[in-house]
Each structure stands twice: as C-alpha cells, then as structure tokens.
C-alpha cells in the first residue's frame, strides 16, 4: 500500500483521536529508559513519545499473555472477556513481533487454542515503528529480522524530520488512516529519506554484529550438548536471577494453580520459568534438570534448537533484553557465536 505523510503539527491530534477509540499504549521515555505507558490526555506530551528509541524495557508480551490471569473457576465457568475496548499498541518494534510469532504457534496453532490469548490478539491493533538507531544490545539482524516493519503489523510508521510516514499493512490499518484527514501522499523524497534511515539502521546492526551465527545453529547446539565444560563456562557468571526469562518476549512457560476450597475455586495461570529448580520436577520427586547447568542448556535447546526444528524459526527476537537485564552480563551472542 502507499505511504502517507502526517506533518508534525497534526501528529498529536491523530494520536488523541486514536486514543478516543482504543486503549492506547505508547513507548514513553522516563529517566532515560523507555516504558510502555497508557495514553492519558492530561499527562501526555508528544516529546515523550519515544519512537526513535529502541524497544521498551519490557516486552509487549503481557498485553496478550498476562503474567497472572484467571482462566477457570468451579463450579461456574470462566470465559474470556469479549466486551473489552480494543487496544492499540503505538510504536511496536520489529523485535517484539518474534514474541507474537512464537506465542501464536504455541497458543493458537495446536489442537487446543487458548481463547484468552486469541481474544486479546484479535482485539489489538499493532502500529509498528522503525528503529532508526539500534543500540549495542540489539542483534535482530542475526535472526533474520529487520529494524523496521513491512509486515505483521496493521500500520508501519517512520519518523522523519518534519513528520511521520505511515503505511497501512492491513485492512484494519487502512481504516485507521481514514480517521485522519491531514494525511498527504508521501513524496518520493520522503520515501527516499525513510529508505536511507532504514539502511543506516541495518548498517549499524551489521557493524556491531558482523559475524553471522552458524547457519545450522540447531545442529551445532545438539552437537555441543554433551560438552558440559563449554556450558559451565558460558553460565559461569549467572546468578540465577531469571531476569533473562522474565524480560524475554518469546518465553511462554506457565503454571496453573488453583485457589479456593472444595465448593468453589479459581484456576490461575502465571508465568513460569524453566530456570527454577522445581520447574521440571515430576510426580514422585525425580527431576530431569536438577542441576542448574542442565536448565541453562535447556534454555538454548528450547529457543535455538527445538523451536527452529519444529517451527522453522528461533524463539529469540534479538531484542537484547536478556543481556540488558543480566546481572552477570551474559551476552548470548558470545555463546552462540562460538558454535
């Protein structure tokens, strides 16, 4: 579809009109960090809209897969809320979409679809924004992803000096563009600026991640599995804080637990983490991954071996949050780069 230009002086009003129709969330810069924030007209300044920054500190995962959610109750059943106001995530980065891809595969494409995830995903408009200046933690290029969006979102947005270039990538996106009558068809020169900016971002990524991973990484991990010395060295600085799993946009593990009594109870689903010693314990007390090193290896198996073999893509987005949050400063690029 064609790209359109929205001049700077109209951006705030378009955002406000979108916020009138959706639960709108945007990336906001707070104390030099970017966080997702619900739009509030009384507390919004377009200068705080951090579209030119990299992804927010937290992934968009919680918008679809809640950290804690009531999924069943007894004896009266629970059904997903269907009358929620639609959500619009304004300024999603390309890396966060890998999380959605993994979760769609896990929660929707098996025999049993998750109605809660499905309802939220269907109820959410995704407006993507280019990443013009990748930072040193970014490595989406090593995973075949790009720092801009040309698919899998409803709208794609690029900030240029005098306004925004917007392109509808779905019918839902095209409808939203019709809400704004200040849009002008983008000129060749504006599109050239967008292209130049995108290429520059690609160059930055290539410069900081010059060495491609082993093209058969899944097999390389399988071959390396028995070399415990390698993994022990890789995990040496891990303090088992689980920050890497908590901030990962693709992790999907969860725990079901019931609260209540024999007459009435509620079943909740909470995020779970495969680094926890009790995570894989089986009935009778045996544990296939009782040692931390086995749990550490399991994370690489899950993300880079099983996902690739079964889904055709890695369960990693290259967002670098695992590294950013790691107390031991473990950069998985260094580990995977040795394979």
């Amino acid at each position: 579809m064609d790209a359109y230009f929205l001049p700077n002086h109209r951006c705030s009003s378009w955002l406000a009109s979108l916020a009138g129709r959706f639960n709108l969330f945007y990336p906001r810069e707070v104390d030099e960090a970017v966080h997702w924030q619900r739009y509030d007209a009384n507390d919004f300044n377009i200068e705080q809209l951090a579209l030119r920054k990299i992804r927010a500190a937290e992934p968009i995962k919680p918008f679809f897969f809640s950290p804690r959610e009531r999924v069943a109750s007894f004896p009266e059943p629970v059904e997903p809320e269907t009358k929620m106001k639609p959500t619009l995530l304004f300024g999603v980065k390309g890396c966060d979409l890998r999380g959605i891809a993994v979760h769609k595969r896990m929660f929707l494409e098996g025999e049993f679809a998750d109605p809660f995830f499905a309802q939220r995903l269907n109820n959410t408009i995704l407006l993507g924004a280019d990443c013009p200046a990748p930072e040193r933690t970014c490595f989406c290029n090593l995973l075949g992803l790009k720092p801009f969006l040309t698919e899998d979102v409803d709208l794609s947005l690029t900030v240029i000096d005098d306004g925004w270039l917007i392109e509808a990538l779905s019918e839902r996106g095209a409808e939203l563009m019709q809400m704004e009558n200040g849009l002008q068809k983008a000129t060749d020169s504006q599109i050239a600026k967008r292209e130049e900016q995108r290429q520059k971002a690609m160059r930055i990524l290539k410069e900081q991640n010059p060495k491609d991973w082993n093209p058969n990484l899944a097999q390389a991990i399988a071959d390396k599995t028995a070399d415990k010395r390698f993994w022990i060295d890789a995990a040496r600085d891990c303090v088992e804080c689980f920050g890497c799993l908590l901030t990962c946009p693709t992790c999907f593990c969860f725990l079901l637990y019931d609260q209540g009594n024999a007459e009435r109870f509620e079943r909740s689903r909470v995020w779970d983490f495969c680094y926890l010693p009790m995570y894989a314990r089986v009935g009778g007390g045996a544990n296939p991954r009782a040692r931390f090193i086995d749990r550490f290896i399991n994370r690489f198996h899950c993300k880079f071996m099983h996902s690739k073999n079964q889904n055709g893509f890695y369960a990693c987005s290259g967002c670098g949050r695992c590294f950013s949050t790691c107390m031991g400063r473990i950069d998985i690029r260094n580990i995977l780069g040795q394979l």
């Binding site: 999924v71 069943a72 109750s73 007894f74 004896p75 059943p77 629970v78 059904e79 997903p80 896990m106 929660f107 098996g110 025999e111 049993f112 679809a113 998750d114 109605p115 499905a118 599995t225 999907f252 593990c253 969860f254 725990l255 079901l256 637990y257 019931d258 209540g260 009594n261 024999a262 007459e263 009435r264 109870f265 079943r267 689903r269 779970d272 495969c274 995570y279 894989a280 314990r281 089986v282 009935g283 009778g284 045996a286 544990n287 296939p288 399991n298 899950c302 071996m305 099983h306 073999n309 079964q310």
Partner: protein, 271 residues
C-alpha cells in the same frame, strides 16, 4: 472457542480399594470424555489443584471413567478423602492414544509394574473387546508384594480368556505366593512371541521401564515397536505450558505414549 482450562464436573460413583495405597475411582462426568486407551485426563480435586491420570477403564464404555490412583502426595492424599457422591473436576482427554491400528494382526507383549497396570488395563480391555483384530496378548506384571497387586479379581478373570497369557511376579513374597518372586524382568527370560512381528507395551516406575526396555531390546524387539508411557510432569495437557518437555517433545501432546525409537537419543529419558 471453548476454554480448555475449564474442567467439567464429575461425580464419584464408587471407590474401590485395590491395595492399601491404591484405589480405583469410578467417575461419571457431566459430559462424555471421549478418551482412547493411553490418553490421559487432568483430574481436579477441588481446593487442591489438578493432576494427570490415565483412565484405566475401557474406552468402549465412556459414560463412566475409572481411574486407578496411588496415594503419593498432597493432591492424591486429598483425593483419598473423597467418597461416592463427591464432585471432582475433569478435563481432557489429552495426548496420543496407543496406535491400535498398528497393533492389528500382531502379538502384543505387555509389561506392567505396580500402579502402571492402570493405563495398561485400558489397553487390555480395548484389545480384548476386539480380540479378533489382534494376535496373542501376553501380560507380564510385577508388584512389590502380593498385597500390592492391583485388579486381583480381574487378573484371574483375564487369565481365562483364550489367547491371553498372564504371568505375575512380586519383588518380595511376605505372604503365601505361588508364582514367581523377583522384579518383573524375571518374567521376561523367555518371550513367547515373534519379537520382530510383535509390539511391546510398557508402563510402570521409570527404573522398571528402563530395565524392561533393555530386556526387550536384547530380545530383539525393534525400538519402534516398544511403546512406553512417559508420564512426566504433565500440567496444562495442551502442549503449551512447557513443564513436560522431554527432549523435543511435550509429553502431554506428543505422548504420553512414545516409542523407544523416539526417545532413545534423549539423555536419561527414564528418571
């Protein structure tokens, strides 16, 4: 889209004491649970949580389900306080059943240990329901002591079925016992079927499955013809939560019945 986390109510019709620590619960769910032998369900003990169990009854009789359960922990402890008329929750069925189509025309060599005979009972009943489709059925079953043997009455009945060959052992005979004493592999020194053309089905404690599998392989069973119940820590049952990961498999979705061929490359598959 239905909610897969929501259990349906099931009333306990009967509780049968099999051994001091094992009971069979006869359940009547408010809607039919269309399970096949080998598949499992998640059983909710209201107020305590849920746990996976494989029905032990025939899948040809689905209006009720029987679950033979050993008391091992908090949830099963709570279950053992339940009596006829009490309500439980149930959801499922989950996982893949025994591939009975592939069993047709072949002898079936079943090896069970302890409460592991429960899922095998569902298989045995399914096989004998349509006995003409299959060859001979051999059942080898071991328990710790004579009083730990489940389905004592049924075993006697099953022995009378033509084409069925049953042999039993106990690890220790602390009361009069006329059959073999020793772990279940002591029943496997002679395997009276053509191993290349038969299937073997195993369910029991992991250590038992490990040594039974070794014995079956030594006897010449192909790895793809040895079916093992790899009942790990199955939780959601949907192939989503990740808890029952066994190598590349989610046991709840890809199993719980997996062949030795599928799992032989996994580091320590029997825990």
């Amino acid at each position: 889209m239905s909610n897969p986390y929501q259990p349906v109510q099931a009333k306990i019709l009967d509780v049968i004491e099999e051994t001091p620590n094992i009971r069979t619960f006869v359940l009547k769910p408010e809607r039919e649970i269309p399970f096949l032998a080998g598949q499992f369900v998640e059983l909710t003990i209201p107020g305590f949580g849920e746990a996976p169990f494989t029905p032990s009854s025939s899948h040809f009789r689905r209006e009720t389900l029987e679950m033979t359960i050993m008391r091992v922990g908090r949830a099963t402890g709570a279950l053992f306080t339940k009596k006829p008329g009490d309500l439980l929750g149930i959801r499922g069925p989950y996982g893949k059943p025994y591939p009975l189509k592939e069993f047709e025309g072949r002898d079936i060599y079943i090896v069970g240990g302890g409460v592991g005979l429960a899922p095998l009972r569902a298989l045995f009943l399914a096989l004998t329901e349509e006995k003409k489709k299959y060859g001979r059925i051999f059942l080898r079953y071991g328990a710790r002591t004579p009083k730990d043997i489940v389905y004592k009455k049924q075993l006697k009945e099953w022995e009378k079925i033509k084409g069925v060959d049953i042999d039993l052992s106990v690890d220790a005979a602390d009361e009069p016992w006329e059959r073999k004493v020793g772990v279940v592999t002591c029943l496997m020194d002679e395997i009276p079927c053509d191993v290349k053309k038969s299937v073997a089905v195993v369910c029991g404690p992991p250590i038992m499955m490990k040594f039974v599998t070794k014995k079956l392989l030594e006897a010449g069973f192909p790895g793809g013809s040895i079916y093992l119940s790899m009942e790990m820590n199955m939780s959601c049952g949907l192939g989503q939560c990740g808890h029952c990961r066994l190598g590349p498999y989610f046991t709840c979705k890809d199993g719980p019945v997996l062949t030795w061929e599928q799992i032989k490359d996994i580091e320590e598959p029997f825990l």
